[in-house]
Amino acid sequence: MSAVLFFLAAAGVISGAIGVVVLRNPFYSVLALVFHLISLAVLFLLLRAEFVAAVQVVVYAGAVMVLYVFVVAYVGGESESLGERLRGPGPVGSGLRLGGAILAGALLVELLIALLGTGLEAIDGKGAGYSPGPQAFGTPAYVGKLLLTRFLLAFEVASFLLLIAAVGAVVLARRRGGLGEEGEGEVLTAAELLRPQGTGTMAEGVGRGS
């Protein structure tokens, strides 16, 4: 049973990954990645990582991919065929891309040798012993206990990193006023004197006083 499920999920994982790399339209690439992530969550479940699998489906395949779909719908981006991509612009681009493909193949061979040719004997086993229970390996209780005791520092640093990333994304994607448009038809108010220029405030976002 678990072997059948493994091969089905692994086929989904690999075909989803191939879809991301090969499909021409970026929108379809995002959908292939969603399929890949859901199949990967099945593999996580088979590895007794219930909490990580749930996080994968809810946060990754749910939230992050919605962000991607929004940006793809906003930006669009031209679709490109595989042959066009491998040819690239001019002889240098085509050579570089072919070199990239060869490098990726070499990376795969090297990774397979490194992972499967290790001296680890446990690699051929099914893993450590496992007994089901409310506090068993991989359950939310187990992961939560680890996160809030041994890995508390990593947890806090990760949350701070998320804060920095959110602020950074707002600063990067905010609406900027052009340099030539400054100071035309502007009504100076006390609030505009108090706030520094070009800091991405809400007033600039709606086009006032940029």
Binding site: V59, L108, I123, G129, F137
Partner: protein
Amino acid sequence: MSIAWYLAVSAIVFALGALGVMTRRNPLVVLLCLELMLNGANLALIAFSRMWGNGDGQILAIVVMTVAACEVCIGLGLIVAIYRRHLPIDVDELRELQG
């Protein structure tokens, strides 16, 4: 299934992601392929975590997911900023930092 099978799948996913990063031109798809590489690493982490019956690998996988979310956030912000300035959405054309 033995752990080795999971590790083989993770290596294949990582190499496919690397292939995409090196050959695709659309920065959105390059970001998607970076996600693929991170997912390959995550699968290996969780497989090793299962192998030893130790939860540390799962915690590291969750931290990797957080970092991936931050990376997506910043990357998509950059792409929207590039789009707003009417620059081409193409990693071959964006060569201002090349010197």
